[in-house]
Amino acid sequence: MKIAAHDAVKARKARKPEAVILFNVSNQLFAIAADSVQEIRSTDSLGAALEIEQQEIPKVRHTIERGHRTYYVVNACTHFGLRVVRPTLVLMLRQIRVAVLVDKIERMAELSGLHALPRAFVGTERQWYRGLACLDDQVIPVVSPMGFLTSQEFERLDGAAAEASRHNLERAVQI
């Protein structure tokens, strides 16, 4: 009988170690590939964040402009359904217009392998995580940068952001 043999094999396959950032959200530890994070900033330094008026995607309340691109700020507590705490840091992701609010960075680490998420997991976590890592006797979910917002959510947010900027422009013209 093959009991999830492929999972074990996948994790054992010799791979180049992957650098990850371990971060904390509401006392839960997560990992994210270091090369998918462009910048880590304090939330205090994000004075230029703009509020976005939309109710459909409650995990996004603000946008940040960086290099002529609009980043949507995702509250990781809300995204993962965790108790909402005041975030102190923001991870600006590299290949996607998402900035993630987190509590703190634990440390950097190297992963020698990634376990596939067991088939028992059937919910949205399949989009949230690339897999699971075993590090220092801990099982840590490795988040997928693409899992923070779906393409439909991007479309809705882009629509809301365009509406907000049109509104602001009209208000500026009136003044």
């Binding site: 009991i3 839960q28 997560f30 376990h115 067991p118 028992a120 997991f121 059937v122």
Partner: protein, 148 residues
Amino acid sequence: MSGTDTENARSYVLIQIGDRRFALPASEVSELAPPVRLHQFPHNSPLVSGIIVRRGRLVPVYDICSLLTGKGSPTHQFYLVAVRHFGSACEPAAIPVNGDSELVTADTVQVTSPAYVSNRLMHGGESIEVLNLDRLVAFESREAELNS
């Protein structure tokens, strides 16, 4: 119905979940694991309470106590590691149990209800339901889907 030497007799592992005993076919059980650490992280899969690590493998834990007994899980001490089938593939699945497990050989009678019970066996004058783990989890997942 009870007996150990009839041609229909098969081996079953008897487990204690809450205050009730259930059985699983021994062929579907791989081990009784000691009380190891339960690793938890955010997800929204029904019944799954976390992951344990056994022999380098990640084993999802299904907390079926409240479903089967109507009561919350007691502080469980052991994990029975069985097999869940996903089409042609399989995956280990752990169930929290209190450690009083027993291997018995018994005849069974088929039952049709509830859906997650495949058979019933008699042991020590007690009628014990033989669980079908795949159906049990699928049943709960469907219920959760309907409720959501």
